[in-house]
Structure formats: structure tokens, C-alpha cells
């Protein structure tokens, strides 16, 4: 089973049905899996903060959701986290494909990536970098359960070590 199939199974195991996403190359197999499977309710959002709002409403109305985004998209949601998710105690499940490292070709991605973990740390949001398929199931399953048990958000950072990185980067890095 691929890393993406395993990840989607972990969402299913925890009743996470709504997936709001802004596309990214690395997320392609996750988004394809979500849209191909009737279990999931996919929401193609136009911005990442919009996706955070939608899963917040869904959670309060009894439907669990996750947001999928890339590193630069995470940089857009600090206010939604600080003024919605955290004060209202929303167990937002965030899935962030990690750009900006290990073979990044886009300088903007490499710079904005520096804001991701410091932002998560400053806001006190639990985050786990997923690097391999062996440890991923335990980390994801237990952390989703912790999020819902404690009304707290959690971020899963999909490292290039897990995903192989951005497929588009390989061609563009040839210099």
C-alpha cells in the first residue's frame, strides 16, 4: 500500500470524511484518492483559510474534517488558527505537504517554508513530520485521536522523505 493509501485509511479509521484542500503536486495522490472514494466528502477550496473555516463548521455540526495544503498555503492561515481554531478549540486536522526543502527549485517556497514550524510552535500547535511509512500509522492515528479528545488542532507535515518530494522539482533542478 502506498503512503497516500495508508494515510487515507488512517483518516477513515478515525471517521474523518470531509477533506477540504487546495491542490499541490505532492498531494495529488491524496486528493485523487479522496475524490475517487464515496466515503469522503471533498471540498476544493480556493484558499487555505477558507478550507479551515469549512472544516470548523463541519466539526461543530458533527462531521470530522481535514485540510490539505502545501507549505505556502499554511502561511496564509495564521489568523484563522489564532482567531478561530485555537480560541474556539477546534480539532482541525492539517495535512501539509512540505515544500522548500530537500530539492526545492522555487526560492519563494524555500523562504516561506521557514515560517511554518516557528508559526506552529509559537501558536502551541502540535505538529509531526512524517518521514516514513513505518512510523506514520502510529503517529497519525494516535494524534488524530488526541486532537479530538483534547479539542486541539494537529498538523502533519509530509516530508519529502515520505513522499519523494515534488515530482516537478526533479526536472527543474537540473542546472
Amino acid at each position: 500500500m502506498s503512503w497516500s493509501d495508508t494515510f487515507l485509511r488512517l483518516l477513515k479509521d478515525n471517521d474523518v470524511r470531509l477533506v477540504a484542500y487546495v491542490p499541490d503536486n505532492v498531494l495529488t495522490p491524496l486528493i485523487a484518492g479522496v475524490t475517487a472514494d464515496n466515503y469522503f466528502l471533498p471540498v476544493g477550496a480556493t484558499r487555505e483559510d477558507e478550507a479551515v473555516g469549512t472544516i470548523t463548521g463541519a466539526y461543530m455540526a458533527g462531521l470530522r474534517g481535514a485540510v490539505m495544503m502545501q507549505t505556502s498555503g499554511f502561511a496564509l492561515i495564521a489568523n484563522a488558527l489564532a482567531s478561530l481554531v485555537l480560541p474556539y478549540q477546534i480539532p482541525a486536522i492539517m495535512v501539509i505537504s512540505e515544500r522548500g526543502t530537500m530539492g526545492e527549485f522555487n526560492i519563494g517556497q524555500s523562504l516561506v517554508a521557514r515560517t511554518m514550524r516557528p508559526t506552529l510552535d509559537t501558536l502551541g500547535i502540535a505538529h509531526h513530520t512524517l518521514t516514513d511509512e513505518a512510523t506514520m500509522p502510529f503517529i497519525v492515528d494516535s494524534s488524530i485521536k488526541q486532537a479530538y479528545s483534547t479539542q486541539a488542532p494537529v498538523a502533519f507535515i509530509l516530508s519529502p522523505l515520505l513522499t519523494g518530494g515534488n515530482p516537478a522539482a526533479k526536472a527543474k533542478l537540473k542546472i
Binding site: V43, E50, T54, I55, G57, A58, L84
Partner: protein, 204 residues
């Protein structure tokens, strides 16, 4: 300026919010956007199915969309200011494509950022939010002509017929209520009102 927008009567948000709340008979969820939209929602009398936003400007419609998707049998209404909705117009495209039948958006348009000092918004100029919504694909979008038109548009079931957007041209009066600034309380009461989570676990 479009004819519809130019001829819309200037109305009052506080009065119309009360009018709207009086029409809610089926436990409809109402998401009050940041600032005056939720102050007037609170002033109209708290209901268990009200959610008050104290931040995250621009996310009333996305939050309402999430509620609508999770509970498709319940009518869901988002109350949002023009400045707020301008902050995230993309959500109108998302909503238009998902077509939630149980979602209604009410936009209070005074053309200003009333709460920050009445600075002009794009809606004071050439931007027509009904035209924007229709362009995004929410065909059922209209300017409210007057009180009677507001009543006519909202005397209906809210669990069907959406997505719909009503834009109301309003005066520059501030909101009248003071929503309790306790987000955890607001969330937990809202969940109790929607019958979800542990909202009622500690009640007798």
C-alpha cells in the same frame, strides 16, 4: 451601478436581523460574521443554533458551508458584512460549485468598514456583490429592494432552494448587541444547539 443595486432601499441591519430571526422556525443554524453582523444577531435574542465569530474575518460563509455539508437537512444562514465577504470572495465560487441546497447567505452592504472607522470599501465604488455572486455561479442571488421584498425572499424553508445570496443595502449604524467574548462557550453552546459533541453532557 446596476439598476437593481441602485434602486435598493437603504435598510437597517439591526431591524432586519430581528425580522430574519423571527422567521426561523426549524432550528436553522445562523453564523454571525465578525463585528456588527454577529452583534446584531446577538441583539436579536440568543438562539441555541447561533454561532458568533469573534475573529477570522471573511470566514462566515466557509463556516456556514461546513455546517451545511455536515447537516444537509438543516437550513444554514450566514450573515456577513460587505467588507468581510470581500476578504474571501473565492468562497462564493466554492459554494456555487458544491451547490448546498440548505445554505443562504445574507450580505449587509453599507459600503464601509463601519467598525474600524467607516473607511470606504470597494462596494462603495463600482463593486456589485450580487453580480459577483452570480458570476461565481450562485444564480439565486438578489439585491433586496425593500422590507417587503426581504420578507418575500425569506418567507421560505431554509433547508432547500439554495445556495442563495441576498444583498441588503444598509445604513451606517453600528450593531446593537455585545456578544460574550468567550469562544469556547460559544462553540460548546452551538454544538449543543446542533445536537453534536459533548455540548449537553453536563446539563441535568
Amino acid at each position: 451601478m446596476s439598476n437593481e443595486r441602485a434602486s435598493a432601499k437603504l435598510l437597517n441591519r439591526t431591524a432586519l436581523t430581528k425580522r430574519l430571526v423571527q422567521k426561523l422556525k426549524a432550528g436553522e443554524a445562523v453564523i454571525g460574521g465578525i463585528g456588527n453582523a454577529n452583534f446584531d444577531l446577538f441583539a436579536a435574542g440568543h438562539r441555541p443554533q447561533n454561532f458568533y465569530m469573534l475573529g477570522s474575518m471573511g470566514l462566515a460563509c466557509p463556516i456556514a458551508l461546513g455546517v451545511a455539508l455536515a447537516q444537509p437537512e438543516r437550513g444554514v444562514i450566514a450573515l456577513e458584512g460587505d467588507g468581510s465577504i470581500l476578504m474571501g470572495l473565492g468562497c462564493l465560487a466554492t459554494i456555487a460549485n458544491l451547490r448546498p441546497r440548505n445554505l443562504t447567505i445574507v450580505v449587509w452592504d453599507n459600503g464601509i468598514y463601519q467598525i474600524t472607522g467607516k473607511q470606504q470599501a470597494a462596494t462603495a465604488g463600482v463593486t456589485d456583490l450580487v453580480a459577483v455572486a452570480r458570476g461565481a455561479g450562485i444564480a439565486n442571488s438578489a439585491w433586496v429592494r425593500d422590507e417587503a421584498h426581504f420578507d418575500a425572499l425569506l418567507d421560505r424553508r431554509f433547508d432547500d432552494g439554495g445556495p442563495a445570496l441576498l444583498a441588503v443595502k444598509i445604513d451606517d449604524m453600528p450593531g446593537q448587541g455585545q456578544t460574550p467574548r468567550d469562544p469556547a462557550l460559544i462553540r460548546s453552546r452551538f454544538m449543543k444547539g446542533l445536537g453534536t459533541g459533548r455540548g449537553g453532557a453536563l446539563d441535568p
